[in-house]
């Protein structure tokens, strides 16, 4: 019997890019399963398409830049970008949504800026913002969650809808699709209806949207796992969630008829996935601890502002991109003083 002897630490930290990216993928599995349960097979195809396109673009760009393929492809960073993107687009979005999104994410946001580690903007959010601006209609057609839908489209119907961009004759959007809770709230408030009245619609669940709130819970679970594994620090998610609550609570207390409750803000849209998986991106976010708090607070404030005043129902992608621009400046202003040196 051979015993290996080594010095401590005996449980080395996961400090390779591939290791960290794998942890992120593990953390997303519960939310993926929940998504699949509530909204059908679409997410699996979106996942396959996005990962396929991402790896293809990654390979092409690595070749063009004269970098070795193997180490960069196998670090899973493109896969994480693709998976996060797939989770943010509607399950029946046609294939060119993934193609455009990944083109912008991998080619423009990542490799044209110098590859992983040099990207100024979060690639997933660049891809998402590009498709939100380029295909506003496709990006607003969400399915109704399982319990409300007369029957989610089957495997073959889903595949057909994604590949052709059109629904099979047996289905139509009016029965399948449903405004997302944020959309419903936005149009409702614009029509001078009260939030309580709007929330009587069955698409709303206990806090956020039906189905959506469960998926958000699983993002939360995955996020806590990442914090436990020390893949991310607690600063950004806490700053995002706390700022959301602190800013939206007084607004809700003062005007409950026009402002949704803080919990509804948190449990609808992409706020939770952004708090744990997107704003925590170590490359495009802040590196100092105080900077991370500022960064998270900024993401939450901008998201709330865009949801309230902006032209799009959810503003997470734009909020993250705007804060990405500020990240170097925040880092500069929050660099801790080195011992023995003046500021």
């Amino acid at each position: 019997m051979q015993l290996t002897l080594s010095g401590p630490p005996h449980f080395p930290p996961i400090n390779t890019v591939g290791g960290i990216m794998r942890q992120v993928l593990f953390a997303l599995i519960p939310a993926l399963v929940a998504h699949c349960w509530f909204f059908g097979w679409g997410i699996l195809f979106q996942l396959a398409l996005a990962v396929g396109f991402a790896l293809a673009f990654e390979a092409v760009m690595l070749r063009l830049r004269g970098k070795p393929l193997q180490p960069f492809i196998s670090d899973y960073s493109a896969v994480v970008t693709a998976v996060l993107f797939a989770l943010c687009v509607p399950p029946l979005a046609p294939w060119w949504i993934s193609l455009t999104g990944m083109l912008f994410a991998i080619v423009i946001a990542k490799h044209l800026y110098g590859g992983l580690g040099s990207n100024l903007f979060n690639p997933t959010m660049v891809g998402l913002a590009a498709v939100i601006i380029a295909f506003p209609i496709d990006l607003s057609q969400w399915l109704a969650p399982r319990s409300l839908s007369p029957g989610l489209p089957g495997l073959a119907e889903t595949l057909r809808a994604i590949l052709t961009g059109q629904l099979p004759a047996s289905l139509n959007w009016d029965t399948l699709s449903q405004a997302t809770p944020l959309d419903a709230l936005r149009t409702g408030v614009a029509e001078n209806r009260m939030v309580t009245e709007i929330r009587a619609n069955p698409i709303f669940g206990d806090f956020g949207g039906r189905g959506w709130e469960w998926i958000a819970n699983f993002y939360l679970l995955g996020g806590l796992y990442l914090i436990w594994r020390r893949v991310i620090s607690w600063h950004v998610p806490v700053a995002v969630l706390a700022t959301t609550i602190i800013v939206s609570t007084p607004m809700w207390l003062l005007g409950p008829d026009v402002n949704p409750s803080p919990l509804q803000h948190i449990f609808s849209g992409a706020l939770v996935i952004a708090a744990f998986f997107i704003a925590t991106d170590p490359v495009s976010g802040c590196s100092t601890l105080r900077g991370k708090l500022v960064f998270g607070a900024g993401v939450a404030l901008l998201t709330l502002a865009i949801r309230r005043f902006g032209g799009y129902p959810d503003g997470v992608a734009f909020a993250v991109l705007l804060m990405n621009m500020l990240a170097p400046l925040i880092d500069r202003l929050t660099t801790p003083r080195a011992y023995g040196h003046p500021r």
Partner: protein, 229 residues
């Protein structure tokens, strides 16, 4: 420092192109290039102003006091722009409305002032004419390339609304290469202009670099380029 005519043309059209190398006049370049015909319209107006201002500055260069040369350049350019603006309002009213404020704004296009200062005020009229034509054409070509690319991606057409510039016969010039609803909305929106120009600059640099190995000493080539400007 040689300023023969082939060098002037090569500089304006490629080596020292105002659009993709000097990155001058970006405001109109980005703002109006959502279709090929807008690009052509603004490109021609800028070309005209540039040629006339180069000629005027070169013709008057002996009498210019160095201390007040910049205000004089600006006066010359502004009067020429006013002429071009009024001409376009008279003869190409619709196109002039589409381009809007960007026609009067040619006066602030740094390319024109830069050519007056760096070239026309030091060179004889024939060379200044050549330089104005070359730089103006170089700028117009970038406008047209960006406009055509964005129009094609965004609306699937080329040369739509050509009758605004060329008269009614030109309506048949419109080429539809893909159905309108396939268009990538992003391309005609402002971000499309920035991304498109970035890609054009990248393409220019790529071609420039692929030609470099033909020079025996690339450092030598770049120092020549600096000399020439």
């Amino acid at each position: 420092m040689t300023h023969n005519h082939p060098t002037i043309w090569r500089n304006g059209l490629w080596d020292n192109n105002p659009g993709v190398v000097q990155l001058l006049g970006l405001c109109p370049l980005l703002a109006v290039t959502n279709s090929a015909i807008n690009g052509i319209g603004l490109g021609l107006a800028t070309l005209l102003v540039l040629v006339l201002s180069n000629l005027a500055v070169s013709a008057t260069r002996r009498w210019l006091q160095p201390e007040i040369r910049i205000p004089i350049f600006v006066l010359i350019i502004a009067s020429l722009v006013t002429v071009v603006d009024l001409l376009m309002q008279a003869w190409l009213a619709e196109l002039s409305q589409t381009l809007g404020i960007f026609i009067p704004l040619i006066v602030t296009n740094c390319t024109i002032l830069a050519r007056a200062e760096a070239f026309a005020s030091r060179q004889p009229m024939a060379r200044s004419l050549s330089d104005g034509l070359a730089q103006g054409l170089g700028f117009a070509l970038v406008l047209i390339a960006l406009g055509a690319g964005r129009e094609l991606l965004g609306q699937g057409t080329l040369m739509a609304d050509a009758h605004l510039l060329l008269g009614d016969w030109a309506q048949s010039l419109e080429l539809r290469l893909m159905p309108a609803d396939w268009g990538l909305l992003l391309a005609v929106l402002p971000p499309g202009a920035f991304i498109g120009l970035g890609l054009l600059v990248a393409l220019h640099q790529r071609i420039q670099r692929s030609q470099q190995p033909m020079n025996e000493n690339p450092a030598d080539g770049s120092s020549q380029a600096i000399d020439a400007t």
